[in-house]
Amino acid sequence: MARPAGDGRGGNVTLHAPAAPLAVPVARAHPRRISTRFIAVGLAILVVLAIIAIAAPVIAPYDPEAVEVKRVLGEPTLQHPFGSDVLGRDVFSRVLFGLRVSLLVSVSAVLASTALAVPLGVLAGYFGRWVDTTVSRTLDMILVLPAMLLAITFIAILGPGSVVAAIAIAVIYLPILARVMRASTLVVTRNEYVAGARARGGSHLRVIVTHVAPNALGPVIVQASVLSAFALQLEAGLSFLGLGTQPPTPSLGGMLADGRDVLIQAPWVEIFPGLAIVVAVLGFTFLGEGLRRAFDPRGVAE
């Protein structure tokens, strides 16, 4: 199966490179133990970030939008560990709040996309024939444009904002998640217990809900976790261009755009928001890689 490209999607190239998982950190160690280690590290990072994001108003030492004229481009100090920005706002507090917005946008986008993709993928995989053709070909159209370009097209139409960015990200990843669910459903549907459930007189709906869907969900969860990492970068990129989350709401991408002109005088304005993105992306990447090894041994997820 195809691997995601750098934007999390395979594009519309009809041939696909073989799966290329991250290399095993310790050669030939027990696969189960490695997946556990990946999941543990990924989850640990994400849990900490989630707590920070949720509790940002409590943890943040300052109001992220409060302007302090005396502290304009102030260096990091004990009171302001990440320094202050162009308007004298506390960078540490802004990173906490920015993380909150970035995580909210990217995670909700991926969740919404998954919620739509799962039923579509199940229908396509379970019923096959014209249902499959209709669903698959329709979703393929989304792959005509590269991810970033599609997001920008959405924003050109609907106007900038974090909600539009989230919708764009959800649409971009819909075909990938649906394709994974479809492939996984195809494998599960071939099992004899599915035929058995049908033979006992179970309706299609019942068979899908109680037998097919639960067993086919694994690879989709893996994929969703991997895509969250890409979604986070995409959201940050859009906000950096001024097309995602709008000021004064702090967002990690927006902070990077604001600090661009004062980079040389005040590098802390640029370093810390970027590091926050990297850490969050690493969290999702590790979690996804661990989950892949544990729950997707067949390599159905892309």
Binding site: A5, L15, A17, L145, A147, T153, A156, V281
Partner: protein, 319 residues
């Protein structure tokens, strides 16, 4: 030979619906804008007569079908329309902007391949430390957003070391050396992330080839491992690597939108971002059309090259 010809024809035919869908998407950009796009575009100072004039100029007062037919007809005749802010011909604008984007993405892909393929081969065949270092590079390349990497490059090379310009552009025909000096940081920024993907694909493709029986046979024949790796393993891994390069071009084009803005390069990517902020819809349409067309053509060429490298693909089983 006929089989290969059939493959090429079939792949060419497949491109037609893709181009059609893409044209519909681009066509709809201005028509889907909530409310009145012409009002949004011109702002509130525009008079009613102005609005009617621009609407007529863009053909928005006709039926949707005849709008599409006229639009496609004009496109095919090379008439891309005019920029509503600068009133410049969009065909001329594109002719100025496209070479910058081509240079940026082309050089970035070249650098990415030069870094990624040899490192991928080393990662597949080397010792434990080579494996660990290359894995670190892959995780780094995937997890660091390219624009932040670019900002850090500026900080180091333009801020601290002061050996390269932080941003800007000189056309290649005016000053080739100056042009390359301005291109180094943006190209490196885009190339690092791409190299990570190419490395990963090369590594897994070469690893899987190296496990096949014919490699063992070649070893038994006493052929040097250098020749086995470069003459046989890499040759067989070629189609996978080319496929990933083709897919990654789409990512590079997306990345170029951000990187051109970051480094103030006058390419198509920066054009589209500026146009969106100005609600300059005709320019948005033309730039999206240009980038998407490049992407579709590259996908086509990639598939044809893969078919040429691996004739089994042309049998149809693999497509």
């Amino acid at each position: 030979m006929t089989r290969q010809l059939m493959f090429v024809l079939r792949r060419l035919l497949l491109t037609i619906p893709v181009l059609f869908v893409m044209s519909i998407v681009v066509f709809l950009i201005i028509r889907l804008v909530p409310g009145d796009p012409v009002r949004t575009m011109l702002g509130f100072r525009a008079t009613a007569a102005n609005v009617i004039e621009v609407r007529h100029q863009l053909g928005l007062d006709q039926s949707l079908l005849s709008q599409y037919v006229n639009w496609i007809g004009a496109l095919l005749h090379g008439d891309l329309g005019t920029d509503i802010v600068s009133h410049a011909s969009l065909a001329d604008l594109l002719a100025q902007r496209l070479p910058v984007t081509f240079e940026l993405t082309g050089l970035a892909m070249l650098v990415a391949v030069i870094i990624g393929v040899p490192l991928g081969v080393r990662a597949a065949t080397g010792g434990r430390w080579v494996k660990r270092l290359t894995e670190g590079f892959v995780v780094f390349g995937i997890s660091v957003p390219d624009f932040w990497l670019g900002i850090m490059f500026v900080l180091v090379f333009a801020g601290t070391l002061v050996i390269l310009p932080p941003s800007g552009y000189i056309p290649f025909d005016v000053d080739p050396v100056g042009n390359l000096r301005y291109m180094i940081l943006p190209v490196l920024t885009l190339a690092i992330g791409e190299a990570a993907y190419i490395l990963r694909t090369t590594r897994s493709a070469v690893t899987s080839v190296m496990g096949r029986p014919f490699i063992t046979f070649l070893r038994a024949k006493g052929i040097s491992s250098r020749r086995i790796i470069f003459g046989h393993a890499l040759r067989n891994a070629g189609p996978s690597i080319v496929t990933v390069i083709g897919i990654q071009v789409g990512v590079l084009l997306g990345g170029a939108i951000i990187i051109e803005t970051l480094f103030a390069l006058p390419g198509v990517g920066r054009l589209v971002v500026t146009a969106i902020n100005q609600r300059n819809y005709p320019t948005v349409q033309v730039s999206v059309l240009a980038i998407a067309t490049i992407f579709i053509v590259v996908s086509l060429v990639t598939d044809l090259v893969v078919g040429w490298l691996d004739p089994r693909v042309t049998d149809g089983a693999a497509t």
